[in-house]
Amino acid sequence: MVIALLFAISASVVPISQSLAAGERLGATCTTEGVFTGTKSTSLVCTKVGNRLAWQRVKLSSGGGVPVKNLTPPPGEIEFWHYRPEPGDQRAFVKIIADFEAKYPGTKIKQVFTDTTTFNNTARVRILQNPKAALIATSRGAIFNQYVTADMFADLSNQRYVKQNLIAKGLRAGQVDGKQVGIPYQYLFNNPIVNTELWKKEGWKEPKNLSGWVAWCKDAKAKGYTPLAWPGATLGQAAQISNSALMNSAGSYDELAKNLADLNTGKIDLTSTWFKGVADIYVKLRDAGCFPENATGVNEAAAYNLFATGKSPILPIGSFAMTSIVTLNPAMSGKMQLMSMILTDGKVVAEGIMNNTFILSVNKNSTSRDQKIANAFLSYLVTGPVAQIYANESIQHVNVLDVEYTNVNLLNTSSFQAKDTMLAPRFLLLNSSVSDLTQQALIAIVGGKSPDDVLPDFSKQIKQKLS
């Protein structure tokens, strides 16, 4: 049971006599099942003991043994290419690199980073011409797949740190044909963030199914709120909610994966019964007034604004948006939690979404010496104390064992660890044309069009792109 609580890794909850996390008492009452303070063996998790909830100590046991120390790099300089220019990430990386270079004089790590769009569009070609780019970060899905197709990543399967320092379930996103060619560093939750203060004030309870969400939207709208601060004008973020819509749209994850694979190759199109069901979820939410007025014109910044100013009780994007919200309104710190968005009245396959991204890989075209430096730095990044710096500065959960979260927003949202989560299904659409057109079709439906018009139109566009 506890295995499912903590990232679904193999873990066990065992009360042992070690020092407790600050402010917590072993065995004392807690209120939210699944809240935990980190992934250290000394961390606490709120779990059921008999009929009551109580703090228990967690002892993590990864499949490969206890976490290991980092590898020692040879002297030299490499470039670390990534797409995280955000202040929190930069603070973390600058410190981590400085510590690493101080520990290993003669070894230098140079960051090369751009925003995500520029990185996705230009980095691969530039890296192909630049073997000094020995450590590369890619995002899960089409981009990671492009690098794999270009055969740019070294096999890391036999590295001890891969087996022993990381959460096993979180490694899947970096595996290709049984080989571990990338280490997903972040462990994100692409689920709605809720403003806990508003929910408490209005006395709302978490909707348990699609009918519940429809009813809640109507109530929230009647009370003057914009129920979901959904950014229909920013495709990438508008698409996050589609994970929740897809999550329980098929009988199992495998069935869903097959449907998406078939859509990706043109075997089925958007007029299939399965996808019509997905579109129908959007229609129901739209008709219930869940989305903002003029939803297709609301961009990411406006959606954040709606949520950060209390005009909207839910931001249906993901845990990674918390940093922006706190920047907009520091008073929101500590008032955010994640919520399940179960958009079916039928069988529940999963309660929420997680995604392992910021996949770190070693460039196989780099010299052997540079690959060794990259591998050593990567092994350093996935040691608990170092990943902890990254997690707490960037406000991102990480895929690394032995991490103690100190950031209040990470702790508050950690209750989501208790859920049975699914690896974000929308990234299974590896063809970006298919993925974008699918999302555009759903956005058009929110904009007021009928699925009967939209789905055949976009299916035709997809067919033309694939032919």
């Binding site: 004008a233 939803a295 609301v298 961009n299 406006a302």
Partner: protein, 311 residues
């Protein structure tokens, strides 16, 4: 004329020495043109040939390419609805921008042609948007166009014109027009400066003569200003046409071509075909059509205006 004064090598000479000299001079002339020719060959002609080659293959930029002959072109014209949609968008966008930008810049120029302090201050003000980056302009206008918080809709709602408060860039019907308006706002000041320079070259005597003949302000504009401003108009329209075909950055910042490609133009389509879809060969074929359309529109414009000019 002697060779010393730089005569052209076509002038015939009688002796052997002058012929050698002419040959040598011709060599010098060709050598002088060589840097420009090299730059053209490397940066224009070479990529053009390369692009032609790419247009004949199916290639994702990663795996080996496959020769498809004219397949990309045939698919483009026979089985690509998006291509025709974008073509229509591009022509509409160019038409709107060229007409309004030319008209507005001409009107501003007429009012601000005299070098008074107020006019110079106003010219500076109108020119100001031009010095901003396209991305900044796009973001500023995104805020203005926001359907729920934007100043434009807040204004319309405040004055009781709710029906004018649209979902500007979020609706398929208005997105392209909204961006065209932004483009006009962005570059009208620049074209105004060109017009002012042109209008200031019109001899004052013509206006004096027109006044003596009792011409009204409108007649002065119609029979003096406009005919004399046509050469400037040709430059302004040609430049605006090219500029509007290249409005990639503004559109990409504001809508990325959406919703449902309603605001996509060729530059955006080609970018997405290359970088998002990784269809290099197909994008090459698109770019060839892009150039052909641009040439066609520019030739049409020049013909139309030149005919007027000659009249």
């Amino acid at each position: 004329m002697s060779a010393r004064t730089g005569s052209a090598p076509t002038i015939s000479g009688s002796g052997l020495a002058p012929r050698r000299k002419r040959k040598r001079d011709a060599g010098i002339y060709y050598a002088m043109g060589l840097p420009a020719a090299l730059i053209f060959a490397i940066f224009y002609f070479g990529p053009f040939i390369l692009n032609l080659r790419y247009s004949l293959v199916k290639w994702d930029g990663i795996t080996d390419s496959e020769f498809v002959g004219l397949g990309n072109f045939i698919k483009l014209v026979s089985d690509d609805d998006l291509f025709y949609k974008v073509l229509g968008n591009n022509l509409r966008f160019t038409f709107l921008v060229v007409i309004f930008q030319t008209l507005l810049s001409l009107v501003f120029a007429i009012f601000l042609v005299k070098n008074t302090k107020t006019n110079i201050a106003l010219r500076t003000l109108y020119f100001f948007p031009t010095i901003l980056s396209s991305v900044s302009v796009g973001i500023i206008w995104l805020f203005l166009y926001d359907p729920n918080f934007g100043a434009i809709n807040l204004f319309f709602n405040k004055v009781g014109l709710e029906s004018f408060a649209l979902n500007w860039v979020g609706s398929e019907g208005s997105a392209l027009n909204a961006i065209a308006f932004t483009q006009v706002w962005f570059h009208t000041g620049q074209m105004m400066v060109i017009y002012i320079a042109g209008l200031q070259q019109i001899p004052q005597e013509l206006y004096e003569a027109a006044e003596v003949d009792g011409a009204s302000k409108w007649q002065q504009f119609r029979f003096v200003t406009w005919p004399m401003a046509i050469p400037t108009t040709i430059v302004v329209m040609a430049y605006t046409t090219i500029q509007s075909f290249r409005a990639f950055d503004l559109i990409f910042t504001m809508t990325q071509g959406g919703p449902n490609n309603a605001s996509s133009i060729f530059a955006v389509l080609i970018y997405q075909t290359v970088f998002s879809e990784l269809r290099i060969g197909y994008a090459a074929a698109q770019s060839i059509f892009f150039v052909l359309v641009l040439v066609f529109v520019t030739v049409l414009q020049r013909r139309f205006l030149n005919t007027r000019y000659e009249k």
